[in-house]
């Protein structure tokens, strides 16, 4: 096997004194032609900076290579990327090394059609112009399995879904026929089913073109299907590197072991919680035929209509249990949660919450722990807010409760005088949980509450949530897109698709014997280390548009019973 890329003792620093602020501290690896290297690590591990150094894009982010060599083996002989000039790098980028990024919307130019952008890529890399370039662009779109490619060339990026945009990005990159593709978290911003589609596409393209790939991800579960070699990074150092199955099956370094253990393994319902105590109690929250619509197109020339964000949702939540609502972006799961708390107006339907221990039995924890805490208030003021809102005074008793709850979520008393920016993401989410518990609620709505956290932090916050549930008898409405996380915490699961619940029931039953075709797709898309031998077919199923003309009513749902506590919507 011939080597394509050799990286020796790479060091990269940032800021005015790059040597003092090193983010990558001596990383070495070699990549052979046609092979894929996965770089795995949590945020701040230096994985992206390492990859961005290979095509020297790191220069544009303020980084400086402070040591080491990066040898790119070309027909003309090896090129030391660290010493190459700007002009030389321009011949490398796009031609030898292609790159796709995390966020496909921001990497495409919004004012040009995707056709123009792919044609431009062909113009630069192969000098194609006019009709020739247009034909090449169409072929490229077909290669990335975009249905109806000729018509899609005239689309602007905003008219395409996230998965389609990422395919367009990939089409632009393969236009240059690169020998090395760097994929920097290419599926992190995408839904799970779309992620599975893109992963399958990348694997197929790699087989077809024999190109090498550096695949960067935070999700060690994702590397199984695509990588030949794995490098695990922590704090700028490669703690473990080696062949895929060696690293996954016999991890040597304790951080790799920790990562593999922390990543939620999806076990098809086998790991579902079994701590129910007896028969279900009377529901504390019951939602009946909830409908939320957002009007669109009230202009002069456009037909009025509405986005049917939530279309006839009903479920019950019993005290002390966790109901997980699972679905992808746009499925209406967050809107359902917000409607229950009165943050968006329901067009129709009944939401009944029994007043339990306090005047506000429902509280919420949001997805982004950075946005849900006012940065100008200290922790004492943040925790006092719910109490003040309910007419309590900030006195010794209230402070005692603050300290009690901070202790419960694993933060010390000294936290009271600190500000949100002095905490890490996981600690902030603990603060949000403590704040939600200030009023002693019966129900906590957790809207993607662990999605923004690194896997190891995620596992600890999930454990904390389960402990708190037992101790305070809380009921959770747990909104998530992540099947593996849901399996850990849910007693019951409702699967939402296009604004409607398509399947609801006991967690173990839904995960072990999914009945609805969407539930099956969702479960099949979960990345897992165990499924590395499995091959996925590339499919391009799209979520239907939820914009309906005014006055549209969905046909009444028909349900069928699939078990004692397991209902499935009948598909047409």
């Amino acid at each position: 096997m011939s080597p394509l890329l050799t990286v020796e003792n790479l060091r990269v620093g940032f800021g005015a004194d790059p040597r003092a602020n090193e983010v990558v501290k001596g990383v070495s690896f070699a990549l052979e032609v046609g092979k894929t290297l996965a770089i795995v690590g949590e945020s701040g591990s230096g994985k992206s900076v390492t990859a961005l150094s290979v095509n020297r894009l790191v220069d544009f982010g303020g980084g400086r290579i402070t040591g080491g060599r990066i040898l790119l083996h070309r027909a003309a002989g090896p090129l030391d990327v660290t010493a190459a000039g700007d002009a030389e790098m321009e011949t490398v980028r796009g031609r030898d090394i292609g790159m796709i990024f995390q966020e496909p919307m921001t990497s495409l130019n919004p004012v040009h059609t995707v056709g123009e952008q792919i044609e431009e890529a062909f113009g630069i890399s192969r000098g194609l112009r006019g009709a020739e370039a247009a034909r090449a662009a169409k072929e490229a779109l077909e290669r990335v399995r975009i249905p109806d490619a000729a018509a899609r060339l005239k689309y602007y990026p905003h008219q395409l879904s996230g998965g389609m945009r990422q395919r367009v990005m990939i089409a632009m990159v393969i236009a240059g026929n690169p020998r090395l593709l760097i994929a920097d978290e290419p599926t992190t911003a995408l839904d799970v089913t779309v992620q599975a589609q893109i992963m399958a596409l990348l694997a197929e393209l790699r087989r077809e073109t024999a190109m090498s790939m550096i695949f960067i991800t935070h999700d060690i579960g994702l590397v199984a299907g695509i990588a030949d070699e794995v490098m695990v990074m922590q704090n700028g150092v490669a703690v473990e590197q080696g062949e895929l199955s060696a690293v996954l099956d016999h991890p040597q370094h304790e951080y790799t072991q920790h990562l593999l253990q922390a990543v939620p393994h999806f076990e098809n319902g086998a790991a579902a919680r079994r701590d129910d105590d007896g028969p279900r109690k009377a529901p504390i929250v019951s939602v009946d035929n909830l409908v939320v619509r957002f009007p669109v197109g009230s202009g002069l020339f456009r037909k009025p209509g509405a986005v049917h964000a939530v279309d006839g949702v009903d479920f019950d939540l019993a005290p002390g249990e966790t109901l997980a609502i699972v679905g992808e972006s746009g499925s209406g799961k967050s809107t359902t949660a917000r409607a229950i708390l009165g943050l968006v107006k329901a067009a129709r339907g009944r939401i009944e919450a029994k007043s339990g221990r306090s005047r506000r039995p429902l509280q919420m924890v949001f997805q982004d722990p950075f946005a849900s805490l006012n940065p100008r208030l200290d922790v004492e003021a943040l925790l006092a807010e719910p109490a003040i809102a309910n007419g309590q005074r900030v006195d010794a008793a209230l402070r005692e409760r603050m300290r009690f709850l901070l202790g419960k979520v694993g933060l010390g008393d000294d936290a009271l005088t600190r500000y949100p920016h002095q905490f890490s993401g996981g600690q902030r989410q603990r603060l949000c949980i403590a704040r939600a518990l200030m009023l002693n609620p019966d129900v906590v709505v957790l809207d993607e509450a662990v999605s923004a956290l690194d896997v190891s932090v995620q596992a600890r916050v999930l454990d904390l949530l389960i402990d708190l549930q037992h101790e305070f008898g809380l009921a959770y409405l747990f909104i998530s897109h992540d099947m593996a996380v849901v399996e850990r915490i849910a007693h019951r699961i409702a699967v939402m698709y296009a604004g409607q619940i398509v399947e609801i029931g006991d967690a173990a039953a839904v995960l072990a014997t999914p009945q609805h075709s969407y539930t099956r797709r969702l479960i099949a898309a979960v990345p897992a280390i165990e499924r590395r031998k499995q091959q996925f077919a590339v499919d391009a199923t799209q979520v239907p548009s939820l914009v309906r003309p005014a006055g549209f009513e969905p046909p009444p749902a028909r349900w069928r019973e699939a078990g004692a506590d397991h209902r499935v919507r009948v598909e047409d």
């Binding site: 943050l343 506000r360 429902l362 919420m364 946005a371 849900s372 006012n374 208030l377 309910n390």
Partner: protein
Amino acid sequence: MRILVALIRHPSGRIGALIIALYLVVAVLGAFGITPHNALKQFPIDRLKPPSGTYWFGTDLLGRDTASRLMLGIGQSFVIAFASVALATLAGTIIGLLAAWWSGVWDGVLMRLMDVFLAFPAILLALLIIAIVGPGTFTSVAAIAIVYTPIFARVVRGPALSLKQRDFVDAARTFGSSQWFVLTRHLLLNLVAPLTVQITLALAWALLTEAGLSFLGLGTQPPAPSLGVMLADSKNLMQHAPWLMLFPGLTIMLGILGFNLTGDALRDILDPRTQRRSA
């Protein structure tokens, strides 16, 4: 306090802060009558004296001491500038916050009204208001405040609109926090940084507008000294007594420079991108 320390560490902020501090000291001394000479007293023998040991900045046509008059003039200009900017901040912040909070029709009505005011050049609008109400210190304050209110409304409305969408405002609604609490604690508190910068820059403009109005005889009325009045008095004597024009002119320029340097420095200091480093 943290901001003040950062301001003194900032290279140009230090100069700006020093100038403003100097002006404030001079203005306070002037207000207590601690001036080299009586600013209003005329010394008929010493008319149009050039700068000297007795009269540091010379004397005017009536034999009044320019240095003493400048000290009082700075005080007068500062009082009007600070009062008008305070009023403009108050009114603009309320209008901007309410426009963002209510949004929809009220947002449109309030902000279009602000646009109407913004469409006029500042000095022209101030002139118009004074022409209607009549000259005087209070009218100057009111006119300058009205002129700069729309700018504050705009500065507040934009960030307030985006703050309103943040999760912590939604969280507050789930606790049942009052509108007043959300407006003050969650919106206003996060607007302190842009407002501080804007206030400093507005002080510079207000100083200039006040001088302009007084120059035209519509601001401070003689014999009370004001930078604009002194400049106006000097214009016929420019060739005989250039110091009469030079010193008020320099005083205005230096004052505006001070506020602008401070404003720019505050903008650097309070910018969230640089803030993380200091935190």
